[in-house]
């Protein structure tokens, strides 16, 4: 089967219009030495049974019996099976999110529910219909703070997820914004009194729990930012923490941006995920992304429609608040179903289990000879362990015992040569924690 939509006749007529003889003439500007002169090396075509065998073989090579302690922005939480069965309904399972109110009330209503739940979790007044992922959501928050304050300087915590910082750099590189860094203290968090916030600072950007798992003192950071007329942007990579932590909105956060992967979205090797974005109502017109609002039709029946679209690219072009004109509809649905199924108590219970298991693991590892916890600040389900032997050796020995011990931090923080970021979620059994502790004690 060929998927070329035009016939040979149509192609030669198009070429004739262009005054060209062959399709290759279109590529004249590409130097000869850069051109591929043989077929792409992707092997021979396969029949359907061959193809199934091929992929079964590949799948059998997946390592499924390892115990992972990886977190760092992507968290292994239990996913109720109801999520897959509900999102697979044909009304939801489309390639593109339909927004027309005449035929998409279901989609618009769950999006409205998603926004409501994000507001409840973050303690904010208005949330959008989601963005691509945590990193783009935080970068959008930076651009929004620039619009709101009309200031150009940003202070970004070095404990913000390194990938998020990289995306902020990509977004802002050519905008003339000055991105400064605030370093974490020995405790693992920021010190509000040592920040260089000035009347030119647009916003302070912090993550809590931060990349090291430490919980920031958001109240003092909010005060420090607000005193200079700057905004506080709180990034959240592990939203499950909101099941036990006071929401950032309660501390005075102006924008909360982050990731919802923890709520029923599979790890999928790093994505696609689903970003959350919430703010104060007074900033709503500067907010990026789709927004669904509640409305009433002429017979007084409740319905849902896209709201404040004048912020968006399809209405305002270059004056839009963002060049993202869509959302992660299906993934926002997964998060919505997760939160609905678990309920308030369920999320609190999952969060408590994360907290307790992680603290049990941390205290066990911390009491081993030669091992210690790098930071003393309170943490949720992640913590940094200092190892007595080189990190690469520790990781290798653990791998031989089918344990993925965590993330070696020197990849992102070159000075942290002896540190591993360990994550323990509710999916890790007590025996698995003990196996890790035993393995570490033998190294």
């Amino acid at each position: 089967m060929r998927y070329i939509p035009n016939s040979p006749d149509e192609r030669s007529s198009m070429l004739a219009d262009l005054g060209l003889a062959r399709i290759e003439d279109l590529f004249d500007q590409i130097p000869q030495q850069l051109r591929l002169k043989e077929p792409i090396g992707i092997g021979h075509p396969m029949s359907e049974p061959e193809l199934l065998d091929y992929f079964r073989d590949l799948a059998s090579r997946n390592a499924t019996d390892y115990q992972s302690f990886l977190g760092a922005g992507a968290y292994s939480h239990f996913i109720p099976v109801i999520i897959d069965s509900l999102i697979s309904r044909a009304e939801f399972f489309t390639a593109y999110t339909p927004y027309q109110p005449e035929l998409s009330q279901g989609t618009l209503q769950y999006t409205y529910e998603f926004q409501t739940m994000i507001c409840q979790l973050t303690g904010m007044e208005v949330a959008n219909a989601s963005l691509y992922d945590g990193s783009t959501a935080v970068a959008e928050a930076v651009l929004m703070a620039h619009r709101v304050t009309r200031r150009d300087k940003f202070i970004i915590a070095d404990s913000l997820h390194p990938h998020y910082r990289a995306v902020i750099d990509t977004y802002t590189r050519n905008l003339g914004l000055a991105i400064g860094t605030a370093n974490h203290t020995e405790a693992g968090t920021l010190d509000a009194t040592s920040l260089e916030i000035s009347k030119e600072t647009a916003a302070l950007v912090v993550q809590s729990p931060n990349f090291f798992g430490c919980i920031e003192d958001l109240a003092s950071l909010a005060d420090a930012a607000h005193e200079a007329g700057a905004l506080l942007i709180v990034a959240i990579a592990e939203p499950m923490s909101l099941g036990v932590l006071k929401p950032p909105g309660a501390f005075g956060a102006d924008i909360v941006a982050g990731e919802t992967q923890s709520f029923g979205i599979p790890l999928s090797y790093g994505g696609p995920y689903c970003g959350l974005f919430a703010t104060r109502e007074k900033f709503v017109r500067q907010m990026p992304g789709r927004l669904v609002g509640e409305a009433y039709d002429e017979q007084g029946r409740r319905g849902y429609v896209l709201t404040l679209s004048t912020r968006e690219q399809h209405v305002r072009r270059e004056k839009a608040t963002s060049n993202i004109c869509t959302n992660q509809g299906l993934f926002a649905l997964m998060a919505t179903i997760y939160l609905s199924v678990m309920g308030k108590r369920g999320v609190q219970e999952v969060a408590r289990q994360n907290l307790q298991k992680a603290h049990y693991a941390a205290s066990q590892i911390g009491s081993l000879d030669g091992y210690s916890l790098r930071f003393v600040a309170p943490f949720f389900n992640e913590f940094v362990v200092r190892t007595p032997r080189p990190v690469t050796e520790v990781m290798k020995t653990l791998l031989e015992k089918k344990i993925i011990g965590g993330v070696a931090l020197k990849r992102y923080y070159p000075e942290m040569t002896d540190s591993i970021l360990v994550c323990v979620t509710e999916t890790v059994k007590k025996q698995a924690i003990e196996k890790l502790v035993d393995a570490l004690s033998e190294i």
Binding site: R150, R285, T310, V315, R316, K319
Partner: protein
Amino acid sequence: MENKMANTPEDLNYTKDHEWVRAKGDEATVGITDHAQNQLGDVVYVELPKVGDKFEASESFGSVESVKAVSEIYMPVSGTVIEVNNSLADTPEHVNEDPYGEGWMIRIKIDNPAQVDALLTSIEYEDYIKEEAAE
């Protein structure tokens, strides 16, 4: 198009982008015309600059959002914003109800008062909107 006769006071100057200017010495008040508000329909939001912002003539200094559309508002003459009508944040309908009074948008310090003389008079502006309507 609605053919209601627009109100265009004689003591003001106008632009082809439908702003009005009430100049006194080197200061001026700026808003959008009765014709403009009538075309836009119900105004729901007005985005205005901050005091101290400087704009060149014909540069956009804000926008007016109605139930139908968002339109940029343009600086009639070059100058610096010295006052902003903050009451429009709560009562954007003043732009519809009283475009030359309570619906004013900004007061500016004019860089070059000669630029005001180059703007349209009320008669020229009325002719201009008639031409626009004819097109």
